[in-house]
Symmetry: D2
Subunit: 162 residues, 4 copies
DNA sequence: TTTT
DNA sequence: TTTT
């Protein structure tokens, strides 16, 4: 449920390979550094390029897929929401972070499913449980089997003609 | 899962009260007629208004909420996807329909929960099944509530669009 | 200006080469056939694929770029709005069309600028005037030269820090 | 022009009246504090509400309209892009800011044009220049010059924060 | 058929 | 700091 809309849509390229972490419960947390750039003219009429680097987080099953298939340089579509966080460091200084919490991801430019091949990174650490379960960032995360790559399903029940 | 992105975002006003139907399995199908209009200048520089009427469908729990709380004239935010359908009438003529299949809905302009009050329309026909937990939009679904249910012909009435 | 929001975001692949037409005033009208598909499980648990074919129109400068650089099979990002039209044929039968009127386009998957090379299609017919002018579908469409590939500019004036 | 997509869509309520500033050139800069909140269940199954406060900036004509018509508490639709900035304070400490740069705005919930009445704040400071035609959002702009341009290396690699 |  |  929501009071309001907080939606982000990004198409960009990865500046680095994905970074993987796992919660104690074994849930994947994948962090991407994603560049979107645009060109405009400044006051003197010169071309000016500006790049925004987005910190994108993908949780659970979606994070695992991202960690397996994405690599530095790849182009990706991300849909999610903005989350602002504040931490106070040991030095007592407050630090602010802005993350994009993804709820959908699409690899672009071909190579979709098997395309470039999986990375060598292990998909999950020993001891992790089969994901899916106790998600806390990923809305939905289909309990069951398949890997929908999206956590919104417009068809809640399945007796809909398809 | 998806190969591609098909996303629609609408903010508009209802031209009529929602229309409710139910599958044999008891799933709600709510249809909205939603207006979005824009003004531009034509070649002569005159203000020209144009209104698009979107046919929006909401299924399941989301459809029930829409049917209960929305009314003619209300402003609403819809997120969903475009679906094109073709039916051949008894006269052999093909008919084309474009629907927006909603996966998120937000009532706008206050009155959200108790606001204008529920409509008098019955929320569900006799025999319908109870409809699970309370959540706008249906990211995820799964987990808690109602079980999927089979119906032999999910769309008994639906060879009559509109 | 608008009373409401009517926004579409698509990522898909072209089913065909772009079709080009030109108004009497010389403005380009480019039509794309764009596929977005999704996979779900039906009631029996089988994978079911469904593809939507969107008819996308790009006007003016944006249409010329599309006509030059896009080709059958290419993946593209489109942002625009839905427009419903009704025509009555010579047989007296009403026909309905749904178009996506693009206001932004991004070629995906590399090959952006020079990528696969321009198509052989002429960019503009003899006698056409240098485009840009008499737009009727394209909001904005910079009168003069430049090729912004987007018609929204968040920086209306240029004394903005960049 | 853009290499990538950086798009934000927000529907929320203003936490305060808009703040207006003006550049030396007289261009308006309107800053909004916009709340979007969502409710989910935490691990214990309790309802947890979380609110994000977005800092939204609107420039030029759009900023003037926002400054005149918006007020604390009003609900608004914003479309724009994310911009990350870093400033170094006089104390030598780096500070990070995330702004949403709006390119479209829609007041929601009625009261659109004359609704609540204009605020008492002056619309523009003395010396400001007049600010062009009247249109919400600013599709269009453009006019001027240059051709698309390639940048040699769009991805200067990995001097990326985070 | 809505809304401002 | 908003809203329901």
């Amino acid at each position: 449920m929501a009071r309001g809309v907080n939606k982000v849509i990004l198409v960009g390229n990865l500046g680095n390979d994905p970074e993987m972490k796992y919660t104690q419960g074994g849930m994947a947390i994948c962090t991407l550094s994603l560049a979107t750039s645009s060109v405009r003219k400044d006051k003197e009429g010169n071309q000016q390029e500006r790049t925004e680097w987005h910190r994108v987080k993908l949780f659970g099953k979606l994070g695992e897929i991202a960690g397996e298939y994405l690599k530095k340089g790849r182009q990706v579509y991300i849909e999610g929401e903005i989350r602002y966080d504040k931490f106070t460091g040991q030095d007592g200084v407050e630090k602010y972070f802005t993350d994009i919490i993804a709820n959908e991801m699409q690899m672009l430019g071909g190579g979709g499913e098997g395309g470039g091949g999986r990375s060598e990174r292990p998909a999950r650490p020993a001891g992790g449980r089969p994901s899916g379960g106790g998600d806390y960032g990923n809305r939905g995360g289909g309990g069951g089997g398949s890997a929908p790559q999206r956590s919104d399903d417009p068809f809640p029940d399945d007796d809909i003609p398809f």
